[in-house]
Amino acid sequence: MIEYSYIIAFLPLLSYLLIVFFFSKNNKVAHTVSITAILASFVLSVIVFFEVLANHGPHIFEYEWISMPGFELPLSLYIDPLAAVMLLVVTIVSSCVHIYSVGYMHGDPRYPRFFSFLSLFSFSMLGLVISGTFFGTFIFWELVGLTSYLLIGFWFEKKVAADAGKKAFVTTKIGDLGFLAGLLILSAAAGTFNYSEVYHLIENNQIPVIFITAAGILMFCGAIGKSAQFPLHVWLPDAMEGPTPVSALIHAATMVAAGVYLTARIMSIIVVSHSAAITIAYIGGITALLAASIGLVQNDIKRVLAYSTVSQLGYMILALGCGGYTAGTFHLMTHAFFKALLFLGAGSVIHAVHTNDIQFMGGLSKKMPITSKTFFIASLSIAGIFPLSGFWSKDEIFATILHEGHWFLLVLAVLVAGMTAFYMFRLCFLTFTGKPRDEHAYEHAHESPNTMTYPLIFLAILAVCAGWVGIPWLHHGYASFVYFHHPHHPEPNFALMIIGTIVALAGIYLAYLMYYKRAIDPVKMAERFKPVYTFLFNKWYFDELYMGTVIRFTYWFMEVLFRFDQVVIDGFVNFCGKFGLFNSRIWMTFDVYVVDGAVNGAGYITRWFAGGLRRIQSGAVQNYAFVIFLGVVLLILFRMM
C-alpha cells in the first residue's frame, strides 16, 4: 500500500473536483462525497501507519516532473514515521471536522462549496505531509495557504472576513519568501531538493555550514509565517473570522502545524548549525510567551484559543530548536487533538449563543452538557494535568529543554505553562459557569446536534489518551517510533513533572479565584495594572506597528513609484514627443529625437517649399512652358560653359 500512499491525498482532490463540477448544487451529495473521501483517506492512512510501524523506512518513491538537460525537478513520496503520524492526525481531525461541519454549516447558501474547499484543503495538507522533496513541500505549502485564504474569506460578504483572508495570505506569503530563498540556496548548495539526498549531504559535511545555516533559517521563515510565529503571528487571530470548523482544522490542528512539520524536516540542519538552532528555539520561546500573555486578557472566545494555538506552536518550535524532534512532533500530535476539540467546542457554543464574546456567555454548562464537559477535558489537557495527553507532551518538551541546558528558556516555558492554565480556565469559567450574563442568549442556547457532539466526544477521548503512547514507562512508545537518527529516551524527571503540575494547578487556581469564586475582582486587577493590561489587550500593538510601518511604507512607496512612472518615465517619453513636435514646428527640419522625426521633417520641408512654390503654379500653361524653355536655355548654357 505504501507505494500508493499518494492515493490518500488524491481522494480528497477527487472529491473536490466532483463537487465543483457535478454536485455544486446538491448539499447532501456534496457532504457525502467529501466525508466519504476523507474517511477513505483515513482508513488508508491507518494501513500505511501499520506498514510503517513494521518497517520505519523512510520509504521513498520518486516521480519525474520536470526534466531537461542539466536541470531536474522531481517530485517524490517520503513516508517515514513522522509522515505516518501526521497522516493519521490530519485525516482524523479532518474527518471530525467534516462531520462536525454537516451540523455547523447547515443552511449556509454556499454549503457545497464549503465542503469542496475542505476537501481541497485536505488534499493539500496530505500532499504536504507525504511529499518527499522540499520543492513538493513548497507546492503544497502554498496550496494550503490558498485554501486557508479561501476558507477564512468564506463569508466574504463580511468585510472583516475578506480582510482577514487577505492578511493571512499576504503575511504567510512573506514567510514563504524566506522559504523560497532557502530553496534557492539549497539548490545552489546541494543541487537537489530531495529530503534524503539533502540529509545525506549535510550529514557527510558536504555543504558548508554557512549555507546550511542560511538555508535553514530562511526555510524556517516559511514556518514562521505558516505557524504564526513571532513576528508574523498577527494573521492567525484575525483568521478566526472564518467558520469555526475551519479554525479548528486549519488554524489549530493541521495547517499551522505544517510549520512545525517543516521545522522537523530540517532537523538535520538544526543539528548541524548551532546558530540556526538557537534562532529557532528563541523565536519559539518568545512566541510562546508573547501569545500567552495576550491570551490572558482577550474576550473573544476564538481569539483566546487562537493565541493559545500560537503559544503552543511556539512550544513546539522551541522544542525543535532544542533538538527535540520527538518532543516537538509529539506535542504537535497531542495539541492537534485537544486544540481541535477546543475549537469545535467553541464552535458549538457560538452556534448556540451566536456571539463570540465571552462577556455575554456564562452558565452554559447546564444547557450544553456535552460541549462543556469535553471543553473542560481539553482545557485540562492543554493545561498539562496528569494523566491527560497534554501532560506527557509538555513534560517531554521540558525535559528536552533541560537536556539542552537552556535554563532561561526552561523558566520561560514553565511560566507559559502557568499562563496557559490560567487563560484556559478563565475561558472555561466565564463561558460555562456562573450566572448567565446575557439572558436572551442563554434562553436560546441549546446543545448542538449529534453531528457536532459526536466528533467532540471522539476528540475528547483522544485528548485524554493520545498522550499515553508517549508515557516513559510504557517502552517510550512514541519516542521509539518517531525519532531523529536514534531513539532518545531521557529518564523520566519527576522534579520537572511535579513543577509543571504545580504551576498548572496554580494557574487554574488563580483563574478559579478570579472568575469562579470572584475572590479577586478581575476588573480591579485590570485597573491596577492598567498600562500592562492595555498593552496586552492591544496585542502588544503589533498590528498598529505593522500598519504604521510596513504597510504604510508599501502604500507610500507604491504611490511614489506610480508618480515616478507617470511623471518621470512617462513624462520623459511625452517630453520627447512634445520636444520633437516643437522642434519640427519651429525649425521644420530633421527631428532626431522623435521616432518619426525624419519622416515628419521631410514632410514639413516639402510643405514649406511648396508654400513658396505654389505661387508659381498659376495654372496657365504658357507660364509653365516659359519655365521649361528657361530651363532649356540654362541647361544649354551650363553645358556650353
Binding site: R614, Q617, S618, G619, A620, V621, Q622, A625, F626, F629
Partner: protein
C-alpha cells in the same frame, strides 16, 4: 550654294518664332499654329541632315513623314479640344484656362 548651316540656322529661327508664339499667343488656335511652325522647323532639320549627311539612306525624309503624320494627328485632336472648350466655357484663350492652379 547654301550650306547645312544655313538650313540649320533658318530652322532655329523658325523654331524660336514658334516658341515665341507658343509662349505668347492667347488664342488656343494660335498656339496650335505656333506648334505647327515648330514642327516645320524640325522637319527642315531632318531633311537638311538627310540631304547633307546621309544622302543615300533618306532616313531623315522618312522621319519627316512620320512627323508630319503625328503633327496632323495633333492638330486634329488639339482643334477638337479647342472646339469643345469653346462650346463648354465660351473661351478659346489659354491664359483663362487655369483650372490646374493650386
Amino acid at each position: 550654294m547654301a550650306t547645312l548651316d544655313h538650313y540649320l540656322i533658318l530652322s532655329a529661327i523658325l523654331f524660336c518664332i514658334g516658341i515665341f508664339g507658343l509662349l505668347t499667343r492667347r488664342n488656343a488656335i494660335g498656339v496650335l499654329m505656333s506648334i505647327e511652325l515648330m514642327f516645320n522647323s524640325a522637319n527642315i532639320n531632318f531633311i537638311a541632315f538627310s540631304k547633307f549627311i546621309t544622302p543615300e539612306a533618306l532616313t531623315g525624309q522618312i522621319f519627316a513623314v512620320f512627323v508630319i503624320t503625328v503633327a496632323a494627328a495633333e492638330a486634329a485632336v488639339g482643334l477638337a479640344i479647342v472646339v469643345l472648350m469653346y462650346r463648354n466655357f465660351d473661351i478659346v484663350n489659354v491664359d483663362n484656362i487655369n483650372f490646374m492652379k493650386w
